[in-house]
Symmetry: C2
Subunit: 371 residues, 2 copies
């Protein structure tokens, strides 16, 4: 349930409060990705220091390793990884199609081979919900088919049909539970307005806890993504949370917020950190600055660049995180050059703090009708 | 200077206080290794949480990368890596002979090729001291020649002669400074009593701040190492700190403490952590337990072993470190299986805490004449 909803009078942006079994979260929010029950190179204490309100974990990965039964036995994913705040789990669908060696859609579900050891598995809508129930996430996602951005219309149309069929089966399975965990439906349709409209009608016809837009930020051109987002986002039910899966660059998130999206997740901050690419707010006048809104802009820098070798200023002098105020860019450059694990941790802290502060800025701007 | 010296009445073990420019340290103590200005996978905040009193950094590595001039410009090694407590730097000698591709001892010093890029360098006693001065460590080590444990007597004899020559040159260079940094001499001689006696006489003839035994734990048999240690350690000057370089397993450290050694460093806790091998105190009755003294014993366990998959108890329920009390063995097993960076951090915290607590136990036992 989305409460305290305030709409910007300048755009479709919304400010709200999403209730979950592990506490409420202010929207719009960003979810750091804890693929295999850990945000890469961070502890949950690090995440708490950053003030991360919720994280996302991947059903496909946890199903394969260590297995959802083990996590259930540990007392659920929250307990297994010591995370006391909300968790969203995806359905496994996206990874089954993008990661597994061989996958084949059958009437009942998908047969696939593990990318780890080639072992055979069969995932169905019912099975996906069961796994997510065993994990004990606060928000579960319906099992869907997500084609690549460049897929032909026919493929996407078929994916929509299967997604609807599976959505109904997920919904039915969920109806039999006590519904402590929320379940979100996913709208597919690629960059085709007609398919999006149809999928929206089908999926929103089921009383899910919230709705996600899937099949965007999967390889299509940014202008196409913006066009379809502008078209479809405002049509999503107003009183329910809206989640844009897998997005994105900071300016893309700001764009999506203006279309009325409440929830985001993306590997960019954590993945780019592992390559030494740091996100930082900067002045609009800064060379290479990318404008977000008002006077807010950001830049990315590659800490491995020689020019940071002698840069003794803090990684981020304005950070709320002591480590980022204390360690210098020069030291971080050295840690990357010598491949020390601490470097990955500091860069990840920097980028996640950036994304979380971006959402604070976005929330503040909606509150004051500046976005 | 070693003050408040108390000798055990049961062995040669000594309890004391070593003054340094960055504060005093209780002896005997263990130094975690921060090879390249970082203890692998830990932050200095982690080290502070563990109560590490001093760390060791490697001159050879820091000279090559990022270079001592950069660190000097950063304000010294303490500032560069944000470590407020004492630092000991080795002389670079050991790595020049063990790591560099080609090395050639000349009258003045050693010519060698960097193991990183093959670039040519020339290290002399004077240069080693200059680098250590630029790094600004609290304790510098004299530049020495350390042959392998299986080296022939002739080789070791020559190494002793060169080590003495270089010790004099290091000492002379140090005499010209303000002596804010201490300088320790190193005694070589392998497992040969005669060579050790001679080296001891030569090196202790110079008024160094302390004395180290080098050339042990370099591949020789443990019984030979114990024999020579028993022989030579009690002959070291009483009023100065005694450092046994590169040792060792917990039981070896306890043995050396009984011979009157005050200082230790070793890669074992950090390196074994990276392979998932954890050190833990245990009951003497535990299968595979290794006795230390009194009722104190330890075991090692490999967290990657299948038997820890379902072991939901804490990594160490008695740890002073919150992370080790909070995360389970099962979760740590999973982190290693999925190669998550957090696993390396937790295992390193565990092992360093073990080594540091071992030294607490040792200090307590000397105090009460139990060792």
């Amino acid at each position: 349930m989305l409460t305290n909803l305030k709409k910007s009078n300048k755009s479709g942006a919304r400010l709200g409060r999403l209730k979950t079994a592990h506490g409420p979260i202010k929207t719009p929010f960003f979810m750091p990705i804890a693929t295999k029950a850990a945000v890469k190179n961070l502890s949950v204490e690090d995440l708490n220091c950053l003030g991360a309100p919720i994280i996302l974990a991947n059903t496909y990965h946890l199903y394969l390793q260590p297995g959802e039964k083990l996590i259930k036995k540990a007392g659920g994913l929250h307990k297994f990884m010591n995370w006391p705040h909300p968790i969203l789990t995806d359905s496994g669908g996206y990874q089954v199609f993008s990661l597994s060696k061989i996958n084949k859609i059958k009437a009942d579900g998908v047969e696939f081979q593990s990318h780890l050891d080639g072992s055979k598995h069969f995932l169905t809508p019912e099975k996906s919900i069961q796994i997510q129930q065993d994990l004990g996430s606060d928000i579960m996602m319906a099992f869907d088919v997500c084609p690549a951005g460049e897929a032909k219309q026919k493929i996407i149309s078929e994916a929509c049909a299967t997604t609807f069929d599976w959505a109904k089966r997920c919904f039915k399975t969920w109806q039999k539970t006590k519904k402590k965990q929320q379940l979100f439906g996913i709208i597919q349709g690629g960059i085709y307005k007609k398919l999006r409209d149809q999928s929206l009608k089908q999926i929103t016809g089921l009383d899910f806890s919230g709705f996600a837009i899937g099949g965007l930020a999967v390889g299509e051109e940014r202008k196409d993504m913006y066009k379809i987002l502008e078209y479809i986002a405002p049509k999503l039910p107003e009183n329910k949370p809206r989640y844009l899966m897998g997005l994105g660059r900071p300016e893309e998130i700001v764009f999506a917020v203006k279309q009325g999206i409440d929830m985001f997740d993306c590997v960019i901050p954590t993945r780019e950190a592992r390559h030494g690419r740091l996100y930082q707010f900067c002045s609009l006048k800064q060379k290479g600055a990318i404008k977000l809104f008002d006077n807010l802009a950001y830049q990315t820098l590659n800490i491995k660049n020689e020019k940071y070798k002698m840069e003794f200023s803090p990684i981020d002098k304005n950070s709320k995180n002591e480590l980022l105020r204390k360690y210098s860019k020069s030291y971080l450059h050295h840690l990357f050059k010598t491949q020390e694990g601490l470097g990955l941790r500091l860069a990840t802290l920097n980028n996640l703090e950036f994304y979380l502060r971006l959402m604070d800025q976005v929330q503040g701007a909606i509150k004051n009708d500046r976005l």
